[in-house]
Symmetry: C2
DNA sequence: CTGGAAGTATACCTACCGGTATAGCTACGG
DNA sequence: CCGTAGCTATACCGGTAGGTATACTTCCAG
């Protein structure tokens, strides 16, 4: 099965558009950013945007997909650098901290997109679902490799902690939300057998 | 210190407006719902809305505040019905399940509002913060009453689990996200001393 | 050297947004 | 019984949204 969404041709101008859109969408929200603004900030005409991406919605999807890809790569990098599966579980939370430091913190782009794009058939829904399922599966893998009982259940718990940390470090009020989550995760893998 | 926001006079028409707005804002998003639509669905003229609430932003704030109040009341009710502080901690997750069953599940209204209203000085920001701080304090109270060590730390962990459960039951993919969180919470209070 | 792809510049379209203005109706308390 | 609060009805405003149309340029590859 091939991709149902046509990949836009990534010319230099398109690259600039996508980078600019990604920054603006994340910081000011998707509905809060108009196509004209993106064009102006990217130093590009609206026509170029529509020639490359077809519609604002397609541009939004491209933004979410690319961001998702990059985030997964960061997680993978941290996981692979870990000494063993248990450390790898904890390393996922390190990757979150690194990700936030690099990208700024306005919460999870997927969750935010879901909040704004409420149509029941909007692609953002399945993208968000796929991302969270991926992380859950990743946790489950690592826990199984570590020989931990009830790996599937523990993976869900870690996912909840992770998402809670993402949300709370956006909302504020808990200075070290991610570190707290990592602490909890470490305790989980240390106690478990 | 008195309230900085003027309470709108709750006439019958205003009540209908706020109820309608609450439903529409939550289901379709705040930016996704126009004042004209609210007026039409509430069986009211736009003038009435602006006479009672002054602006869409004020209406949004009224929506968030009322929803917050009601949610806190539900939590309190469940907590007070619990046999002891430890059960009360778990009961918070029961209250979440009841709340979701009653209100439908499109995630946390505060978090969604934050995603849409990105202005750094928008009242939605402090409302969200206050709500989460309140829950954290509630957890901390109960854990201290239960004589659990490191109540403050445990309270943060419970908050993360709670928020993770809210997010994930919206995103989907984990059928019983709230029950999983409750399970983890029970284990926490059972193990702790 | 030529044709097409990529891009700029500019103007335009329709739809809808939050918000305002004017006029008139109804119900109720002093 | 009369004034005012609360409301309806309708029309309007400026701004902005996503998206399209036309004409001109630039640049590279066959």
């Amino acid at each position: 099965m091939t991709d149902t969404v046509v990949e836009p041709r990534m010319t230099r101008a398109a690259r600039r558009v996508l980078d600019t859109a990604a920054r603006l969408f994340y910081q000011r929200g998707i509905t809060g950013v108009g196509v004209d603004l993106i064009a102006a900030e990217a130093g590009v005409t609206k026509k170029t945007i529509y020639d490359r991406f077809g519609s604002k919605d397609n541009l939004v999807v491209a933004y979410l997909r690319e961001r998702d890809q990059r985030w997964r790569a960061v997680v993978d990098r941290h996981v692979e650098a870990a000494a063993d599966p248990r450390e790898a579980v904890v390393a996922v939370f390190d990757s979150l901290e690194a990700w936030q430091r690099a990208m700024g913190d306005r919460g999870c782009a997927m969750i935010n997109a879901r909040a704004e794009l409420t149509g029941p058939d909007h692609p953002a829904r399945e993208l968000a679902l796929a991302q969270k399922q991926w992380l859950r599966a990743r946790f489950a893998e690592l826990l199984e490799e570590a020989g931990i009982d009830d790996a599937a259940d523990a993976a869900v718990e870690l996912l909840l902690l992770h998402e809670g940390a993402v949300v709370m470090s956006d909302v504020g009020g808990i200075a070290d939300a991610v570190e707290r989550a990592r602490h909890a995760a470490r305790r989980m893998v240390d106690r478990a057998e």
